[in-house]
Symmetry: C2
Subunit: 326 residues, 2 copies
Amino acid sequence: MTINEIAKLAEVSRATVSRYLNQGYVSNEKRERIRKVIEETGYQPSSQAQMLRTRKTRLIGVIIPKIDSHTISRMVGGISTILSKSGYQLLLANTENNEQEELKYLKLFRENHVDGVILSGTIFTKKHIQVLKDYQVPVVILGQYLSGYSCVYQDDYRAARELAARMLEKTRRLCFAGVTVQDEAVGRGRLQGFLDACHAAGRGWEESQIAQASFQVESGMTAARELLKAHPDLDGILCATDDIAVGVILYLKQQGKRIPEDVRVAGFGDTQVAQIVEPNLTTVHFYYKTSGEEAANMLLDLLEGEASVYRELKMGYRIVERGSSL
Amino acid sequence: MTINEIAKLAEVSRATVSRYLNQGYVSNEKRERIRKVIEETGYQPSSQAQMLRTRKTRLIGVIIPKIDSHTISRMVGGISTILSKSGYQLLLANTENNEQEELKYLKLFRENHVDGVILSGTIFTKKHIQVLKDYQVPVVILGQYLSGYSCVYQDDYRAARELAARMLEKTRRLCFAGVTVQDEAVGRGRLQGFLDACHAAGRGWEESQIAQASFQVESGMTAARELLKAHPDLDGILCATDDIAVGVILYLKQQGKRIPEDVRVAGFGDTQVAQIVEPNLTTVHFYYKTSGEEAANMLLDLLEGEASVYRELKMGYRIVERGSSL
DNA sequence: TATGAATATGAGAACGATATCATAATATGA
DNA sequence: TCATATTATGATATCGTTCTCATATTCATA
C-alpha cells in the first residue's frame, strides 16, 4: 500500500492524501473518503520515504559506556520513557567503555540519520570535543559537565565534599578509593570533593591514602588491600562507587575488620547492592532515572525549537546514611 | 554530497559510482578516480535513500520488558555485540512489563521497517501469537520457548528440577516462592521443575507451600512472610529469581532464622547480588549474555539467508552452590 | 572468424513520500 | 460589489539512492 493507491481508491490526488496525513487543508467530504480507505486498507506511510523527503528520522542515538550497569540502565530507562512518549525511537550504542567506539558511533549516527544524540560518556578527549564541535545535530551530554554544551550531570563534587566531611567527623584517618581522574565526573569530581573536605577540616593527606580502582567489585577489594597495607591504622574509606565500596567491605571483613566499628565505609550511587551488603552502605543517591528524562527533554527542546541554545543542568543529590558509616 | 556530485567530479555516471559502492563491475581506472573523489569529499551515501530503494534498514528492533534488570541488560549486551559487528543497529524498546506495549512496539517496528526483531517477553497472549503469525520480518524470541518460532531460551524446567532435587535432599519441608505462571519460563517452567522434583522424591506438597511473588526484592520478603506463617516448620525456600531469594533471606534473618542452618534458600539467575548477600546465594547460572549473542546470530542467519527456517535453541545452565544452601 | 560469456558503462525508471506552485472556489470585510 | 483572504485541489518536481535495460568492449573457445 502506497500513498498513490490510497489516492486512487479515494479518488483524490496523492497530494491531498499527504495533506490529510499532515493536517493540511482537506474538505470534509474528501477527508472522510480518505479516512475510510485508509481504515479499510490499513495503510501506513513508509517511514523511509518520509525520512528521505523530510530529512527527519525521529531516531535518537544514545551512546552509553556499558549497558549492564545499574546507574546507566536507570538513565536509559528515563530516556526511553520520554522519547517514546514523543514518538521518537532510541538507537542504542554500547561502547563497552571504549572511547574509540564512542567516536565511531558519533560518526555513524551522524552519517546515518539520527535527529539527535544523547552521549553518556566517561572520558572526554580532545577528539571528542572536536567531533562534537561541528556536529550537525543536537547533542546532549549525560553524566558529565562539558562547558558550552547541553548537559545533564550530577553534582559529584559537592556530594563528595559533603559526604567526605561527614566521614571526617567520625574518622581519624580517612582514605579514598576512586577511579581514573580522566573521568571528570566520577574520577576527578569525587576525588576533588574528598580532598577539599580534608583541607576544610584542616586534615592533611598523603598520596598513599588514595587508591585507584575501576568500576568492578573486585577492584574495590584490591584497592582496600593496598590502602590497608599503606595505612594499617585507617578507620574510614570513601569509595567513588557503590561497587568499589562493596569490594572494600568484602575485603575488610575478610581481614577481620568490623564495619563500621573498625572502619567506616561509604560509596556513591545508591545502587541495589547498597541495601543488600552487610552492613548496609552509606551512599549518595543520585537521580539517575530523572537525569535521563531531563536529558531527553532537553534534547526534545533543542529539536523542536523550544530552545535553540544549550543549557547546563546540574542535578541534586541526597546522602543516605546507613550502617556502614554509623 | 550526493552520488550525483561524486559522479560528476569523477566524470563517470551515477550508476558506476553505485556499482563502485556495491562491488559491481568497475574498471580499475574509474575505480581509482571514484575512490579519490570519495576520499577527498568525505562522501557518505544517504542511508535514508538506500533504505527507501533497497527496502533494507539494517535496523533490528529489540523489545525488552525492563532495562534496569541485570539479566536483561546482560542479554542486550550480547545482542549489541553481535549486531554491531555485522553493521546492524539496535532499536531499543522498553515495555516496562506491559504486554500491550509489546504489541504496540511490534507493530511500530513493522511499520518502521526494521529488518528483524528480537523479542524478549515474559507473558505471551493469543494476541501476541496472532501478531507474530503474519509478521513480515524475522523474529527471534529470547527467553521464552514458543513452538514453531525461532527462539533462544533457558532450560528453566530442568534447572529448577535439578536444583529442587538437591534442596529436597537437605530439607524436610521445602517451599517455593515463584512468579506468575503466565510467564511460561520463569513462572511455569521453574514451578513445574520444583513440583516434579517433589514428586520424584516421593514428597507431597500443598498449595500453601507455594507463594507468588513478583520480580522485586520486596515481594520476596512478603512471600517469605506468607510461607513462614503457613509453615512455621519450613526449612527451605526455593525462589524463582535471585531478587526474590534476597528478599526471602532478608526477611528470614529479620525473624531470627539462621541461614542455612534453620532455612536453606536458593535462587535463579546468578546476578550480582548472589555473591553479596549473606550468606552467598546458591543459584543457577544462566548464560544470559551468550543467549543474547545466540539470538542475534540466529536472527542474522535468518536475515542473510543462511537459514530460512526457524530453530529452537535451549541453553545449558550451571548450578552454583554457595552458603545459603550448604 | 564467428559465437557466446564475461566485463564495463550509462540512461532512465523506480522507491514512496512531501514541497512547491498554480489555480479555483468560497468566505470575509470595506 | 469588488478586493482580498482563506480554503481546497492537483500537477509536477524532488529527496538520493539502486535497479533494469540497452549497448559496447574484451576475451576465450569452437
